[in-house]
Symmetry: C3
Subunit: 529 residues, 3 copies
């Protein structure tokens, strides 16, 4: 297909110089100048990924840009700076080996020779999306889903669908026990006759609390007509649960997740996803304090001090050449090669491929679940938990020792490029020791709590989370044990392991549980020693 044929116009990658505001494309004479600028830019800054400085855009995308470059200049500019605007799928498919970013064997012919523009995504698979609507003679949908992205990025889409994060909505919303915790945290309150009464949280609260990260369930609830500056009255769909970019968002095509959770719209940048700030959005703690602990680790220190000279766009990502200390992505997701261009570890968007242990969110750390849908798990008491209250594993639903070994080796493959095997082994032994020790501490907390329940000073029946003392208990495993385990896993010991919500607070809370219990047990409330 000739890129100059009907149905496509040229976009000279100019970023600053593209002037959509003129409501028509640039004149040829201007284009020559722009092309010159582009060539200079390519020469100077080495935007070398693009095979050509000229990338055609589709007629439909050109129509989008005519208005939206004026009304939404921010996102249009993000897109113009993105690879999606700078390279066609056909060129991307021609890249061989580990440098290739488009993992689909092929892409639909109509997409191959134009930039991946507005229309290419927002008009993709129109029949699959319930929010598809007529917009200035084009049938577009608002919400792009992983199944849209999967058209070009098949392997990543497939892997992500098996990622526990893709199932984050249902793993919370469909777990009866987690729903009790959610309710006790988000509920509206009314105080009457010295009692706090709880009313179910409304959807607006849910959407900006737990489901901000877990993802909302999107639903088409109707249509509305709005008067627009650019084109007068237009009809738009009304979408419940919107906006949201949670990792497990239930999309209007039924797919799960949002690639934009990490690859922010509309730059969809690998650079951003590789930097730890992206993960911070949902993992700042204290429940999952991964980002804070990374910051205070040796790796985080090296990143903070030196990363301005690293290359976050290179694919593959070469250890020691492109970067000198791992970020979150390096350990968990990215394709890494060594300076001999040998693959150190394969890219995966199923994050637990390199994770033998699940170290947060539950009473005890435990082997990773076999399946991403964790709502199906039942422990020996028939509760939807991967462990019993006494710490035993619901082994039927969890990966076995052999699979843990495979994942451990996948993780350690990258460590071994900077650390000798005795270092890595010593680190890992401490990590598994810490899993055992923190499980022991939350077992102690749970035994005290069970004693309190048994003695009738608190009531487990309705919910194990809706009394003050029960929240002391949940602090031990929801926050403190997690901090300690993340500090251990990421060699970010020191403060987060001890004084910053670590062992100091874990041991203090055990003492407080015990102190509270003792106070209730003694009728005269005096407990001299």
């Amino acid at each position: 297909m000739d890129p100059k044929s009907a149905g496509s116009r040229y976009l000279h990658i100019s970023g600053i110089f593209y002037h959509g505001g003129s409501k028509r494309l640039l004149q040829e004479s201007t284009m020559t100048k722009v092309a010159l600028v582009v060539l200079i830019l390519v020469g100077v800054f080495g935007i070398g990924t693009a095979r050509s400085a000229e990338v055609a855009i589709s007629e439909a995308t050109a129509a989008c840009l005519d208005c939206h470059s004026i009304v939404h200049p921010g996102i249009v500019n993000d897109w113009q700076n993105s690879l999606h605007a700078k390279i066609t799928p056909q060129e991307a498919l021609a890249v061989k080996g580990v440098a290739r970013k488009v993992s689909s064997a092929t892409v639909p012919e109509n997409l191959q020779n134009v930039a991946v523009g507005c229309a290419e995504c927002h008009m993709l698979r129109p029949e699959a999306h319930t929010d598809t609507f007529d917009h200035n003679d084009y049938r577009i949908h608002v919400v792009i889903s992983p199944d849209d992205c999967k058209v070009c990025h098949a392997i990543e889409g497939e892997q992500y669908s098996k990622n526990i994060m893709a199932h984050a909505y249902g793993n919370l919303a469909d777990n009866a026990l987690f729903q009790k915790l959610e309710h006790s945290i988000l509920a509206g309150t009314r105080y009457q006759d010295t009692k706090i009464n709880l009313a179910p949280a409304n959807n607006a609260t849910k959407a900006e609390a737990c489901y901000y990260c877990h993802g909302t369930r999107l639903e088409l609830s109707g249509y509305e007509t709005r008067d627009t500056d650019a084109a007068g009255e237009l009809k738009f769909p009304i979408i419940k649960g919107w906006p949201n970019q949670g990792v497990g968002r239930i999309n209007l095509d039924g797919s799960m997740g949002a690639c934009s959770a990490c690859h922010s719209r509309h730059a969809f940048s690998i650079e951003m996803a590789r930097k730890p700030y992206t993960c911070q959005e949902c993992h700042v703690g204290p429940d999952v304090p991964a980002f804070k602990i990374y910051e205070a680790s040796k790796h985080g220190n090296i990143f903070a001090a030196m990363h301005s000279s690293w290359d976050f766009t290179a694919v593959p990502w070469t250890i020691g050449k492109d970067f000198n200390a791992p970020t979150c992505a390096a350990c968990h997701i990215s394709l890494l090669v060594n300076t001999d261009e040998e693959v150190v570890v394969e890219r995966t968007h199923q994050v637990n491929n390199r994770l033998p242990w699940r170290i947060f969110g539950l009473i005890y750390a435990h082997p990773h679940p076999q399946k991403p849908d964790t709502s199906i798990i039942r422990n020996k008491d028939d509760l939807p938990l991967p462990t019993d209250f006494d710490g035993g594993f619901a082994t039927t639903y969890l990966i076995d020792e052999k699979e843990r070994e495979v994942r451990k080796q996948a993780m350690q493959a990258s460590c071994l490029n900077c650390h000798d095997s005795s270092w890595v082994r010593g680190h890992w032994q401490r990590f598994e020791n810490t899993i055992r020790e923190t499980n022991g501490a939350t077992r102690t907390a749970t035994l005290i709590m069970e004693d309190i329940w048994r003695n009738g000073f608190a009531d487990k029946k309705g919910s194990p989370y809706n009394e003050a003392i029960e929240r002391q208990w949940s602090d031990t495993w929801l926050f403190y044990s997690n901090s300690i385990r993340f500090a251990s896993a990421m060699a970010g010991g020191g403060d987060y392991s001890v004084f910053a919500g670590g062992r100091y607070h874990l041991s203090k809370t055990l003492l407080e549980l015990s102190d509270w219990f003792e106070m209730r047990k003694k009728p005269d409330s005096v407990t001299k020693k």
Copy 2:
């Protein structure tokens, strides 16, 4: 005025090369070389704002630099790198339209053709400043005030005087109820007969605690003679409350505020003020956790990952060209234009021009006060609070719905450059829902607290903040509800909305208030369920 005329000498902007240590200006021969270097620097680094590479400095400033470039090289260098050293007011006044930074219609003639140097500010309005003193035959003052800056930056000075931040000293010091909270936090303590006795905090403590941000009241308390390396014995004023750069500092000319709070001395940089780190100084939390929440938001993520390629000095500031995600300044202060150079939102130094709701610092979120002096507000119980203890608004003193709508639209104007109106509306609905819900929760906390007071287990009379249980209550509205509201306002949901001092802790504290109350009510202290 010829810049080479008497009363001014040349400063070749050379940063590194200016050698004040010689105690005289550079010889002509050296100056030629320096000028060459300057031209090269201007060529290579594009210090293009200055019309000319040669900026005259006044005789008085030259005299200052003779000594101070040796004794205070750090701040002299900051100034040399600043626009104040690189462009004259006359040149700045010649800039047309939205790019103009000097907002006064004109500036005094003696200032027009020299760099804005030491003397231009420290010798301005000598009669207005009580700290003006003779210093090597010049009459200078130590503390520069907004009224000094206003000589060139009239609009910003005027706006800032209406900014609630300018009144931060009096809004705390002149509010009897806030003084009780301040006292209970800052007081010195003595323990006697099992009682904690409080003694008023001294000024040194106050200056580095609440008034570090709110600003101190400066007062001339006398003079002293000091032996200096550079010039032997010299007389200097002694200023109570110094040093301080709080936003509501009471200056020695009676004006309020410190421009250097955000535009740090002596670079007075727009770049620094536009980056979020500046706001972090006073808004890191947990009372106003704006910075932390920004860091963990999508906007903060984009800033952190990408801002090294943004332009923080361009005026006006173009969305999508100069920056791709808002910083604090972008939403609250800066003049923003779109890529068609149309004004998106006007610059304002009266920050609440874009804020309909006040979401922190008080028991309930409420409409913004009409006037920046909040110490005049009285609720229906005649207390200096914008709401009653039961949540009702002191409407006489607060902006009405119409004004709230105006401010909401001013704020949303920038959002709409990257987000469609359904996104913005959805976001805002959640925000206003969260205001209602958190007000509901602090109402519950207050009802429990009132029950505790009514039952005599705590005493509200002296102060509602000086017993342990009263501080549990203040935690709910001073920290947790604020976190939740900021997380909502800034779309930084997730952790700060729930687990990092959010709804998890708000709901837990309600349970703890109730648990504490229940324990006191039951004489046998056993409360089986």
Copy 3:
């Protein structure tokens, strides 16, 4: 010595281009091209410290690189980018005056004319290290110690040995009272008959908790044979306590400390050590919240906003030219000069050379100990503490007023380059006021605690840290008073001084101690007011 003589080969500094994977050195023809690249790099990026683009490497280091550039490309690349690979000790010794980095008068002749490569450090002083072993016909040791680094960096090694940080292991492990606190935090727990029983923490837990920062005691525990990809079966030492980079690590040559704690392996970069992220690893808080407070201070704001244009590699470090606001290193360690190249303050690796007061870690702030080994200190009750429980100083062991004055002036020397003396004096008066006030508050907390002990509601005998209420007490001095003092010392007032673990929480905890005590004292548990 001719660098081309036997015993050394050339390494052309090429970073990317060095191809150790070939298992032999590059051919001459290739070397010419590489040299050209190097010259260009030196020209363009100004790697100007090296006298020559050609640095010889020793035969032994070449042998290391043959394998390790393949198996450990990350660290080999770090080294290639380091000054150790770019300049020989002889060249470094030739540098005159304050720019000189090698402080030893001379270095052993065999090291003078080759890069400081793998072998130069890992084969140094083989007889001194108990982990020295045969490795492919070379006798190497795994763990590099300060005594190794001292061969070239004599003054820094000597100073660091007197640094309290070098003694961090023993200062914790050999202090009986600190061991009780450590035990109560790290112990394993068993719950039996409503009692929490503590079992000593294992070494793995210790190594990643307190001793992650303090340093572990390394011990050779035997040898093992491992099958390696690169060279088949090889014998390696097994080292207890490994890995660790704590500041007070007890090394296998008996020396104390790890230079790599701050100068991360294998770049050993002055740039990294000068940035505050390095200090964050152990000083993020809440026990020593120095990093967080720096971030929220004016200095931290200037650093964050502007440091991308500063020079962190220049030696000496020029105030106003290389940097415009201090980092941790600038105030505490670095050699600083002014723009006249006069020394402002000498470099020191004995950090308390500029510290009159010790403001963390103990019940009361106090003058710095005279000797770095603090385990020898005894207070008037014969406890290993620098103060009594009532706040009196164990003066025999602490520096006197004269020495405090010397250190204060050393610290203030750098302040005075940007601040006039009234500013600095005002700041320091507040700081010393805060030391007194916070000591007063922890005295109040201790008096309440002593009342609780005296009344038998808690038991001090076994340990003063293993009951819930005792931990409330330790919170006051271990966290809150420290936050307040660091905020004062670093002019990072505002939140960390008040609401972020500052005076708000200190005063609240006093009230809670009192509330808890009152509840136990009243048999009917009802305390109406």
